[in-house]
Symmetry: D3
Subunit: 248 residues, 6 copies
Amino acid sequence: MLLQLSTWPEVENYLKTSSGLIIPIGSTEQHGPTGLIGTDAICAEAIAKGVGEEVQAMVAPTINVGMALHHTAFPGTISLRPTTLIQVILDYLTCLTEAGFRRFFFINGHGGNIATLKAAFSEVYYHLAHLRLSEADQVRCQVGNWFMCRSVYQKAKEWYGDQEGSHATPSEVAVTQYVYPESIKKAALSPDVASGYPIYGAEDFRRHYPDGRMGSNPALATPEHGQEFYELAVKELSNSYLEFLQSE
Amino acid sequence: MLLQLSTWPEVENYLKTSSGLIIPIGSTEQHGPTGLIGTDAICAEAIAKGVGEEVQAMVAPTINVGMALHHTAFPGTISLRPTTLIQVILDYLTCLTEAGFRRFFFINGHGGNIATLKAAFSEVYYHLAHLRLSEADQVRCQVGNWFMCRSVYQKAKEWYGDQEGSHATPSEVAVTQYVYPESIKKAALSPDVASGYPIYGAEDFRRHYPDGRMGSNPALATPEHGQEFYELAVKELSNSYLEFLQSE
Amino acid sequence: MLLQLSTWPEVENYLKTSSGLIIPIGSTEQHGPTGLIGTDAICAEAIAKGVGEEVQAMVAPTINVGMALHHTAFPGTISLRPTTLIQVILDYLTCLTEAGFRRFFFINGHGGNIATLKAAFSEVYYHLAHLRLSEADQVRCQVGNWFMCRSVYQKAKEWYGDQEGSHATPSEVAVTQYVYPESIKKAALSPDVASGYPIYGAEDFRRHYPDGRMGSNPALATPEHGQEFYELAVKELSNSYLEFLQSE
Amino acid sequence: MLLQLSTWPEVENYLKTSSGLIIPIGSTEQHGPTGLIGTDAICAEAIAKGVGEEVQAMVAPTINVGMALHHTAFPGTISLRPTTLIQVILDYLTCLTEAGFRRFFFINGHGGNIATLKAAFSEVYYHLAHLRLSEADQVRCQVGNWFMCRSVYQKAKEWYGDQEGSHATPSEVAVTQYVYPESIKKAALSPDVASGYPIYGAEDFRRHYPDGRMGSNPALATPEHGQEFYELAVKELSNSYLEFLQSE
Amino acid sequence: MLLQLSTWPEVENYLKTSSGLIIPIGSTEQHGPTGLIGTDAICAEAIAKGVGEEVQAMVAPTINVGMALHHTAFPGTISLRPTTLIQVILDYLTCLTEAGFRRFFFINGHGGNIATLKAAFSEVYYHLAHLRLSEADQVRCQVGNWFMCRSVYQKAKEWYGDQEGSHATPSEVAVTQYVYPESIKKAALSPDVASGYPIYGAEDFRRHYPDGRMGSNPALATPEHGQEFYELAVKELSNSYLEFLQSE
Amino acid sequence: MLLQLSTWPEVENYLKTSSGLIIPIGSTEQHGPTGLIGTDAICAEAIAKGVGEEVQAMVAPTINVGMALHHTAFPGTISLRPTTLIQVILDYLTCLTEAGFRRFFFINGHGGNIATLKAAFSEVYYHLAHLRLSEADQVRCQVGNWFMCRSVYQKAKEWYGDQEGSHATPSEVAVTQYVYPESIKKAALSPDVASGYPIYGAEDFRRHYPDGRMGSNPALATPEHGQEFYELAVKELSNSYLEFLQSE
């Protein structure tokens, strides 16, 4: 059930049996010489839709642009500032809480979003409590990072070892290949790839990671791998969603 | 060319021959008993992709959630506050201008976004000038509202007359039927439909427009109509984009 | 009845019979070689006072500085950013709503204010609803642009044709001449005047409109014309106000 | 020289010989049973115009609404929040500094504005320095409170003694009577008037000062007194302005 | 009773008999060649603790960084912008009011904080009223500036005369010597010290006050003096606190 | 070297050989029936001072109040909203970067600060880059959480096992006992202590953790333990600081 493809009476109806909502959040940022700029949004959206079908949950439209300021020295990256993203989340959840939703499960495709999402949740709980809604204290948010699912992580390690890296990884590239097989990109990738350097500002990032990859070899990705990652993530996050929903 | 499905070197390459970018913006809001909540985003995205192909322009990811505060008394609506949307636009265009984009053509699917977009553009020009970028004064933004295209508007009047209305219109519903034929919704629609009442706050809006439609009869929509509206809009907005780009 | 020239018990008394308030809003911006920088505020204030007398409505102090960022490359222009103007409107209407006012009729002298005002109204309705005032859902705002009154517009076309232009127009200059006959300015005006170029940033604006006029010939203005425009606008906006107030 | 009644070339010309600007700032707030709601703006504007003529300085449009949150429990009061007023001042002075003004002399009619103005000035200096304007470090702001002029203060004490009070004072009421003799209001004033209680929130203020006066007897005011206060203030503030301008 | 050294049940208990809280606020800013950067925070904290013991009041953790933008051209200075400090105060007092505190007595060590604190208090009262807490209208804030205590001021004049100056004064340096005798700094101080120049921006300030002192001779300070200032301030502010608390 | 106990010439001098700064950040929040409200600030400050001595680094004043919104249903807790804390960090680091500092090492005592700090750092890098400082791209921030030091963590597990818990832990209580042996609190602690429930809003938190502890038994703490934790943390974080500083 996609919110975008529902009518308001269908949403009203849904709310009679569930107060849960899945919100996919990605990023629009460079993913190395062959990774799609939309990688994080594409993965989050595909997996969120899969989970939605699995658990019969409503899925909100994808937040395509997240917190990727450190990638902005590469063209094509679009990022919100953390304070803007917090306001966006606040506006989303205020509307949705007033409509009757109470459990917000963010399926996230980008590590750089995690800190800001957590900060946003704190701000949301506080803000909603001050709006004096009768059930504001029932609102709960959770982040499910598909790339940190245990099963996904283990499979990536098994297949790629150290070449999984931490950005523009073969696992995320594989998922985009599975979702968009017509958009598989090829480019010569240097076998020497930077890794291990912490993330600070955008210029500094590009200086240390000149082609945008962080220790990864995305050439290892295949659409078949992508399908398996997709299925593992859908399965694991479906369980997480159900636990989240059922928690008292 | 979708930004989401491009790599950063492809964007870098694109910028050598064009500084234009198409940004679809819609809304996530009630569209009456049969209209999809994502109607405005769906239409804007489909048409933007069509224009992008037609004129070989890069298309950014869709801004799915816009300014729809007056619809928030209906469940499923998600809206940004105008001040939040202004910050979002500011963040987008700051990143994109620093990367080398100069002409931003917003293909818009929602009347309620127009005022805030215009306000945002003023804020953007001012902000970019203060960032002291060397070409900040070259940045230009334009809104192309597909539903206000002359050819679209005339066709809708021809087919639907007064039953086009002004929200949850048969024309926009038709486009979504063309794009998502598997999601055509049916419901009994009262022949009496409110119209002509100005838009103020959300509760007031729902009181006056109890099923969410504003003077429209979306039952008149067909996927075939949708295709024709789509093609008219793509053609007209492609011309607008090219003129915008070529303006000295 | 001017709010500025009333006492608080008089306001309290007024609120027993009316919840309407007229708020003049102008701008402080260049108006070409002969137009007064205060043109938009002067016109809005004079006409608002006229309407206030005609319909026995309270008139608030004029918002002298509006959204004129695109004029800021000319000295003397003062502008708020859209986000600041939204906060200003929010603060005004929060105070006034808490005092008992419900219908806010903005008499506006500047096209550049319209988008931001509309955005502000949406933000106001939303904010007031969240303040949990018992009648927040009764608050309504409307903009009456004197220069877009049908009667004014037609008269300007009749007298000036294309030389009315769209900024530093003879009609608005005429109203200021009527209001401040001692401040009629003369200067050589080039017969070649730029027009038709869209408005982007401030530097770009000045480059395209080097003397500040947009297609206008303000030399056609006379105080007598100004008086007629004034009277037409007062009459038409008085009707608009009464309709606004009486709307259920 | 009023900015509102000048053209931009006149401002450009003015800036060749002076970088000073007088900005009147008042408030729109209750002033007891007989004081005009616009008292603070009226006084500031009249005196600023007088000073402008005396010293041949440009005078900006009056900031009619200031920081009067503690008066908002009385109908008719309009106030900005301090943070909004700071943004307003920031926007004003950014525009004006970019145009070439450097010395901003605020003629203030309301004690409640002083703290926020001072805070705003700090924010302005900091912000302008960060805009990297070449002369940002030359910008200076000063507040001249007409009611705290030594000569005004002494005269008020001489004429009214303790009945001057601290809000809705006979001295400020007198100035409004001088400026608007047709708007002199009469009402029975209780001889018992609250005084000495500190200012906290709006409800608390009204509870302690039920008719809005703070220790004052505005019935002592006369238009003749008003003229004398006006002249004393103009003289003293003209000197302050000249000293401010000439300070190295 | 220090809040930092209390448990939450102890605070709960305290609130049964008192709703007062002392909040020390200082600054982290240059204090001339020999003054400690923490001078204002050190003095405020020490005196606040003294008052807290004297009157059995709870003392909050010290706000170490205040509004010192004009000192930021000297290394080591840290300042909040006024708008940030207002948000900080707003957050503090919202939490504390919801917990049951009602009377906030700020013991302040820095003149530059006063305006922003006053602005913040207005914003706080307004904000708390809008949160619809039942006793929001009982909240009161007061600033006690230790260096403006009558007894302190007179003693400083008696001991130092004009050499007290107005920044990096011997009196404040003396208090820090009393609190941190192991951190007494020595440096050659020019007998010529700037004074009397108003405070504008940071660069301008440093240009006029090249070593950071404003008319002061901190070499006159002794730890013994510091102890006396401390005792005078504690005594006087203890009385102020008790009056503040007892005011109806 | 404490910044608070230094003079500005000493800071100027320090910057000739180091651009590093240690910034302790804690929280002011309930720590169960026996834990001090200042626990997180006390631990961070003590350990930061220890590290500062060990590595000869400058230590800034402690940020006493952090992000603890989820604890605000317990009296005595003071929290900033995440967006406020981001502004605070932004202001701090802007001042300090302009003064010449480049490496900011936050010694953190509170898990709830981590997400907001990370978000703040992203915002800081972006903001500083836009200020066009010549070395903005050299600025780096790092968080060192003393309670997550490997040696500390292992020791706590060894001594307390599961009774370490995750809030109001014996390890942090022990450190406060070591620092403030005169403030050791005793109270009956229920052997049943809640644990494992995720953190959402403040009311929800208190409902699930009624005495404020999260799975911990702070009665196990001793001052001697505290000293050992202190020493382990100082040693480990000193190494982290030196690595951070030396990283190219």
